[in-house]
């Protein structure tokens, strides 16, 4: 069930030997250290780790938003060096455009391709329906709840029809119940579209609920600690949370993460003590 092997030949997304270092006033910090893995077509892979393990740095590297790193990222054999149309990103923070209606938000990537207005509105309505927001087409993000806005962001990214959907803790700011229900929605869409998905998260339940495989990362420097195959039946929904097998996976991943999270907490405390000592 647990495999340290990180790369597969049939992967559509390949992340090879990524190393990211940041210069800080305290010296160089290695945020991500020699991370390699692959995501197969139609697969749902989650990357999980404690705060400070370099998950979001990895998200930025794969999405092409961070340029200064060693290693390589390729999609369907093509090496990418920056934002790429094959990768659609959904961000942790609320990222809808408040000056655009739901339809105009979702139609945004279609507008960039020069698609005629009538056609892009029709396509946008299709994706709005897909995320369950039909009836809200003419509303503005300010009139929607946090969960609905994240669905608008998801629909906007799906409208660009990316080969890989890359999500960075998209439900982090939502309450637990909304998070579970949105998880269902994402699962349903992923299964319907056979969408290759890479989810960055620190939420074990969310990762087990949705993933085919979970990549567990170590605390700083972020390395691949283990890859866990999730052999739960599909199609899945949030009801699976109550099953015994689900509980076993959660316990197993928590056992891996606990040590890393403790290291992170100790590190944070040491750092805070150091700062207090310096200031007193």
């Amino acid at each position: 069930m647990n495999t340290p092997a990180t790369q597969t030949d049939d992967a559509i997304l390949k992340v090879n030997d990524i190393v990211v270092r940041f210069e800080t006033p305290e010296g160089a910090i290695t945020a991500v250290d020699d991370v390699s893995f692959g995501v197969k077509p139609g697969e749902f892979l989650s990357v999980i780790g404690p705060s400070g393990c370099g998950k979001s740095t990895l998200f930025n590297v794969i999405g092409g938003l961070l340029g200064n790193y060693q290693g390589g990222v390729s999609v369907a054999g093509e090496t990418i060096n920056g934002p790429h149309q094959s990768i659609g990103m959904v961000f942790q923070e609320e990222s809808t455009f408040p000056w655009r209606s739901v339809t105009d938000n979702v139609a945004f990537p279609l507008e960039l391709t020069g698609m005629p207005k009538a056609e892009r509105i029709k396509r946008a309505h299709h994706f709005i329906k897909l995320v369950g927001l039909d009836g809200f087409e003419n509303r503005y993000p300010g009139e929607l709840s946090g969960g609905m806005r994240q669905r608008v962001s998801l629909a906007r990214t799906l409208a660009s029809e990316p080969k890989i959907l890359l999500m960075d803790e998209p439900f982090a700011a939502l309450d637990e119940q909304t998070r579970l229900l949105l998880g269902d929605k994402v699962l349903q869409i992923q299964q319907d579209l056979k969408q290759t998905t890479l989810l960055i998260t620190h939420n074990i339940t969310e990762a087990v609920q949705m993933s085919d495989r979970i990549l567990v990362m170590t605390y700083r420097p972020g390395k691949v600690k283990r890859i866990v195959n999730i052999d739960l039946p599909r199609p899945r929904s949030s009801e699976i949370v109550g099953s015994e097998a689900f509980g076993r996976y959660v316990a197993q991943i928590w056992a891996d993460l606990r040590e890393e999270a403790s290291r992170g907490m100790q590190d944070a405390e040491t750092s805070a003590r150091g700062k207090n000592g310096a200031s007193s």
Binding site: L65, P83, E93, P98, W99, G132, L133, P141
Partner: protein
């Protein structure tokens, strides 16, 4: 998971909705009635503050004899011209300063200092450059109102949430698309704060310079009426300046609502 359609019913105006407007108008009328009473009873000197009834009575006179409407149009035109110029050049200046960091680092402090400087004192210089014409007045209004528009434009663009910029980057936008589709609409509410401030500065300077150089408009009329010691007429003319201000800001508010209707 289909959600119920959310078509909001048309909002009906409740009787309570007009209450603030009624109270506002009522307090204004109450203030003028109190003023009238204090002046008529001799508590306030009528040779310093004319009674509101006299000011109202002087309206037909200043409309017919002093051609207040043509002066009103002149002042309004000067304000609008200065307003359009400061919007165009102020926003463009702010965008340029944000785009070229060296320019911003070199000039931002000077622009901020200019915002609090009494530029109106430079009116003799503007008279030499533009002559005794409406352009001197427009340019005085424009120059003195430029700094807040520039500063707020820089603030608005710099304050655009990073995640929105990253969304643009993730869709591989060009620099021009990034500006027009994300940075500019995201910063519009802040830019409008600058434009509103700029328009206040412009209006004060336009009327002030009309007054100073004695060239047309409501400022000159106020100057003439004050020199004739026609206090009721002076205050009636001031009411027209307030009317210019109200019309001016109603137009800006309309434009702001239209451009930032969802922000």
């Amino acid at each position: 998971m289909t959600m119920a359609a959310a078509s909001a019913p048309a909002k009906r105006r409740k009787p309570g909705d007009v209450l603030p407007a009624v109270v506002g108008l009522g307090s204004l009328v109450g203030f003028f009635l109190l003023l009238e009473l204090l002046i008529q009873t001799g508590v306030l000197n009528r040779f310093i503050i004319p009674p509101p009834s006299e000011i109202i009575a002087s309206f037909p006179r200043i409309i017919v004899e002093e051609h207040v409407l043509s002066r009103f149009v002149l002042t309004l035109t000067e304000c609008l011209t200065a307003g359009v110029m400061l919007t165009v050049f102020g926003v463009a200046g702010g965008v340029l300063m944000h785009r070229f960091k060296l320019l911003q680092e070199a000039c931002e402090t000077w622009v901020a200092a200019m915002a609090s400087a009494p530029i109106v004192l430079c009116y003799p210089l503007f008279l030499v450059i533009f002559g005794r014409s409406a352009w001197t007045i427009i340019m005085m209004g424009f120059v003195s109102a430029l700094p807040p528009v520039i500063l707020k434009t820089i603030e608005g663009i710099s304050g655009t949430r990073k995640v929105l910029v990253n969304v643009g980057r993730s869709f591989n936008l060009t620099q021009s698309q990034q500006f027009w589709k994300i940075l500019f609409p995201a910063s519009l509410p802040t830019i409008f704060v600058g434009i509103r401030l700029g328009l206040i500065f412009a209006l004060i300077n336009v009327v002030g310079v009309e007054f100073l150089i004695n060239f047309g408009g409501l400022g000159q009329l106020i100057n003439e009426l004050a020199e004739r010691y026609d206090l009721a007429g002076t205050y009636a003319a001031i009411c027209f300046v307030i009317l210019v201000s109200v019309l001016f800001f109603m137009a800006v508010e309309k434009a702001e609502r239209w451009l930032t209707r969802a922000n």
